[in-house]
Symmetry: C2
Subunit: 224 residues, 2 copies
DNA sequence: GACTGTTGTTACCGCGAGTAACACATGGTT
DNA sequence: AACCATGTGTTACTCGCGGTAACAACAGTC
């Protein structure tokens, strides 16, 4: 074998192929939602199933690869907003807005990333005769986790919490990401308000307005 | 038909049957995770598939019924903590703790409720020839949504926000629930800290400590 | 005893994930 | 030239699962 040249050519060719396949898969997922079948994806790419499986192993592999692309893109956009040289509140609002704008612009992609099929099987994996029947592989967790860890990092780097700040920053990172995600998910379903309003309300929440607000008169009077 | 007596007897019998089936399904889901098959559930209940389908229509129906039971139980526990006659911070902490204790105590149930298979297909439903191939039906969304709405209600009832408080309360409800959920999910994976610490950190976050904390010295000096 | 409805069964369909086995090209080795 | 190694592509299958049709058995009613 002549090794170098040709094998390299082939490798890059394979990578290009892989990208093409991913783009085809992207189109199908965008059209059919997360339950897009391997047959459909293969058809869209103009080839047949086994090729997909040679490239990605199984459906989970394809979906992971697909998710990684979008996740990376989203993450870099968020990082930019988060690392901007501005007041903290402005940074927070701009990050929230970036996220919401992203999911608003491409809800199909969002749904694919966040609400895919699951197939967890934590400890149940160890069951006999059950090593091959399972498929997809979590994506929603990875994305949310990555976001949470990332945000935790930023917090621990830029915000001065007391002792044990590392741990608290991670907690907050995941908590804030979850807040953003859940509120975004709810908001996306039937936009009950403008994006600006949602952003500023969430920022208000993070800014402690829940603690500051007074009690409302409850029927039963002040004795309650 | 003799109507009254016997039909009523049959209805209650059917209901008892239904409960038995749900309990069997519960056991299987607890053992096999969310991807438990209808065959397995039927076997566990000591009967065969068609009976399951007669009772629940399809897999989504069964899972919905199953989810409803757990959801209702969790919700009532949370409501109790949330409606207790205590300071707001204490109520918030106790609610968070209730939730976390619940998911800690029965992680399998939690995983079933929160990370089930999905099969969304929003607008794609309208595709031809695709009215029968789809199955499960979202659960995670319903639970989170219910929690969020519920919390929003409580906030609007008990906290005095400014004008337009209704909308902000709903936003906050969903946001806080999402925070709790994401932090809990992350925490559950590999308990990085005690439950108390998690609870108090999240409460701190809601109490505006993020806004109060000072900037940390960033390399590049104060000019940044 | 014939009629009706419920409870249960077996045996099947359709579909999607994943695989085995075979066919064709290409380019280096002898 | 013939040879074979490797990557690309196909067809045609297995297997498991959701879901259903068709039939069997057994109440209680008229």
């Amino acid at each position: 074998m002549e090794t170098a040249r040709s094998s390299e050519r082939q490798r890059t060719a394979a990578e290009r192929r892989r990208r093409e396949l991913l783009e085809a898969a992207d189109r199908v997922v965008l059209r059919d939602g997360p339950q897009a079948s391997m047959n459909a994806i293969a058809a869209e790419a103009g080839i047949t199933k086994p090729i997909l499986y040679r490239h990605f192993g199984d459906k989970g592999g394809l979906y992971r690869a697909l998710a990684k692309r979008h996740t990376d893109a989203l993450l870099s956009a968020l990082r930019a907003a988060l690392d901007a040289p501005a007041e903290r509140r402005a940074r927070v609002e701009s990050t929230l807005d970036t996220y919401l704008a992203a999911i608003e612009a491409r809800p199909q992609v969002y749904r694919f990333l966040m609400h895919p099929a699951d197939g967890a099987a934590d400890t149940a994996d160890a069951s006999p005769t059950a090593e091959q029947g399972f498929d997809v592989g979590r994506h929603s967790a990875p994305l949310l986790r990555r976001l949470g860890e990332e945000l935790g990092q930023v917090i621990v780097e830029r915000v001065d919490l007391g002792p044990d700040s590392e741990q608290m920053a991670r907690i907050w990172g995941h908590g804030i990401v979850g807040m953003m995600h859940a509120a975004g998910d709810w908001w996306l379903a039937d936009r009950p308000c403008s994006r600006e309003r949602l952003v500023s309300s969430l920022a208000d929440l993070l800014w402690g307005r829940l603690a500051e607000a007074g009690d409302r008169d409850v029927k039963g009077g002040p004795g309650f």
